[in-house]
Amino acid sequence: ALHTSFHQLIQEQSSLMEAALELEMQERSREPGQDEQHPNFSPTTLRILASMPSRTIGRSRGAIISQYYNRTARLRRRSSRPPLQQLCRTARPSLRHYDLETDPTRATLEEKRSLLVKELLSLSPGQRSHMLLTVPLSLAEKRTLRWVLSRQSQPGRAPHRTSSSPCGRSKDCIVLVSLGCGLLSLLAAAQPWHYALKQIGGRFGSSVLSYFVFLKTLLIFNIFSLLILLVFVVAPQAVYPPPSASPRPFTGLELLTGAGYFTHSLLYYGYYSNVTLNDPCASSPNGSMCPHTAPQFPYNMPLAYVFSIGVSFLLTCVLLVYSMSRSFGESYRVGSSTGDLAVKVFCAWDFKVVQRRSVKLQCENICTQLKELLAEQRSRSCSLSLCQRLGRTVVLLLAWVLSLSSVLGCVVALRYFSEHMHVQEAILLVLPLVVSLLNVLMPHLYNLLATWEKQDSPVTEVYVACWETCVGQDLYRFVVMDFIFTLLDTLFGELVWRLILEKKLKRNQKPEFDIARNVLELIYGQTLTWLGVLFAPLLPAIQTLKLVLLFYVKKTSLMQNCQSPSKPWQASRMSTFFITLLCFPSFLGAAIFLSYTILSVRPSETCGPFQGLETMYKSGKTWVQLLEKSNPNITWFAWVHQYLVENTFLLFFMSGVLLAVIYFNIQVVRGQRRIIRLLKEQIANEGEDKIFLIQKLHSVYEQRERRA
């Protein structure tokens, strides 16, 4: 026999939930085959089953409110324990926190709402607004809650949105917030290309959309670097132009080669002066005209140059690592091994796709994937024979050998070519032409290899070394050529190919948009920009222009010529992959190259902001020494500079700390996997307990009815 308190609870619960139950029972009677597992249960048992928390949660408003009341109470109580005097000694430990008088499941809707409001008021404003945003109630209910909250909290102060980010998302974000935050929010609110992205997503799905979103991200990086360089390097130099040589006449070829008229302009390193800008003392040749007074705000150009580049790189690094960690955090899950079929059924449908043809294609794709998964699971038991495995390994090795040898061949050819190059102007274009040609042809070759072997295509990157302005000019040429070749590739690869397919071969199939190749082209272009920013400070401006044009060209070509990809690309894993690829080989390589140049390479004697110095970094050192001499109070700064920045011990120490942190995280992940396994076992046990109890309950009621 059940304990008397349970009887009372059950009766009260069932009388309270009468209305909700009627609805429940009605719906069940609509589908007679529903409860085939319990066909013989008595109505009382069914009524009890219907009011179990697992069935009512998410359905009745009261249940949601009481669930969220519990959640907020737990949030508040997390670190505090109830005082011992108030506890009933005979209560079980798990019931000690359970105050039956204020049991939320027994209250009416109004009482539940007031309980929830009381709990919400005790939270911080940030937590409160987060709770309000994430509780799954209807909007009308949320607005009522908010109104009650605002009335009961400090009257006269209107509740304002405090979102999780330090600066609000809305356009009403006040300008008092720092300039960076303001710019970010303005950019987000302006939502450039919103309709274009919606169109692309609607027709081609999330995977192709991720390419365009990546392009937009690169654009934001470039705009940030450009702004910093513009404000601190280009603008001051433009205001105080150096005494320059006679400018060469402007011919149209400059736009392509970057030489000629552009050589002695703001575009390149050579134009920038190596003195303090607004100090008339330094720029005039004879010292007698010097007024011997230091200017108001001395603007030391070499220092500004090297620091601005350093700061823009640091900012780019921070942004990259932040976006990488955010997307990585979304796509990595501890302990996730099985479950592909379930995930495919529930997560494969892309809700963004709205065009009829694309929807039909998506249905076919999902159907094919499900069939493939079923076939794979069926044949998983029978493994491949030795012969097949050997054959597959041989194919893999051959493909690797071919790829590596072609890369080496390209590198050798280019080195030979660059050493035998002549310096006439139009011929300067030949090297970038060859590089871009190789960049365009090689991926097609690798695609062929990939179809033979079923893998992604590697990237070909070529580093060519020259000196400063020459390097800047070379990189400018690379960027321009890359753009031209991307345009040509879009033209031939997509438009002409589609025409060929339609007219000559009479196939109604359009070429696919090759996401991988396009993304690698973007990364290549961005690497060039990062490599060249030290030698041509306006290169981010050119890259920005190029990206904007590329967006429209690619979008037009996509809409006219392509069809959506048939391979199931997972959009979020891809975004993580793109950003990681951007960060690791690309940004890291550029940063290492730049650090090497700044720290060890001797700058040219006759031009640029670092003339006469041993390395570019020395400008910072001389400034620190100057500072020390002029102001003996800040010797600590020089001491910091000497013992922390220059000393290698700090580097070793930081690496040691980093390794320790990585090891710690690995151990934490291992522990979490073990906990997940234990929790899964616990859930299975609880499920069995539940079934057992239901059967017992049913048998008890049956006996009762038989006796009565």
Partner: protein, 187 residues
């Protein structure tokens, strides 16, 4: 701030901003979309919170939902009166949950509601069969459908009751990094 609009009071717009993931501009745009579906029924002046509902037939003809196989279920899950008609609050709520900013837990709750065809708070075998038929436009054979349903329940059911509760569904969704990007409608 800039232009004076007379559709909503400032208080209402603040409330919408705090309770959904939209900005003021987006809410006004949503009102425009809601209004253009039935210009004779939906008033331009919402300052008194009029009790106007649009029937399901109008909503599922929106270009964002027209080709979606789950359009009826989506609209039913957000409808307060259970018949599929949406007031403006429900309309905004629907697109707010389906927007980019909504967190994973909230999306999982509503995704569960959408896939639960018989609204018994569990995704049982019949719900799965209906989901699969809608996903593949009935291209799979009956045998394949049964196989897939069995495999899915086997993979995701943790407490052994033969159907997926919300906890099972949420656990399975957490293994899918794509869920946030696919369960998203741009408006």
């Amino acid at each position: 701030m800039g232009n004076k609009q007379t559709i909503f009071t400032d208080e209402q717009l603040d409330a919408y901003q705090d309770c959904t993931f939209f900005t003021r501009k987006e809410i006004l745009r949503l009102h425009g979309r809601y209004h253009e579906m039935a210009p004779n029924v939906v008033p331009m002046d919402y300052t008194k919170d009029p009790d106007v509902k649009l029937p399901m037939q109008l909503i599922i003809n929106m270009p964002e939902l027209k080709e979606n196989p789950f359009k009826e279920r989506i609209v039913e899950s957000f409808s307060e009166d259970g018949e599929g008609s949406l007031s403006f609050n429900d309309f905004v709520d629907m697109f707010s949950v389906l927007s980019e900013m909504a967190p994973r837990e909230l999306k999982a709750i509503y995704a569960f509601k959408i896939y639960d065809f018989n609204t018994d708070n569990f995704i049982c075998k019949s719900d799965l069969e209906q989901t699969l038929n809608k996903l593949t436009r009935e291209e799979l054979t009956a045998e394949e459908i049964t196989l897939v349903c069995e495999k899915v329940i086997e993979e995701a059911d943790m407490d052994g009751d033969g159907k997926l509760g919300f906890a099972d569904f949420e656990n399975m969704i957490s293994k899918a990094p794509d869920f946030l990007s696919t369960f998203h409608i741009r408006i």
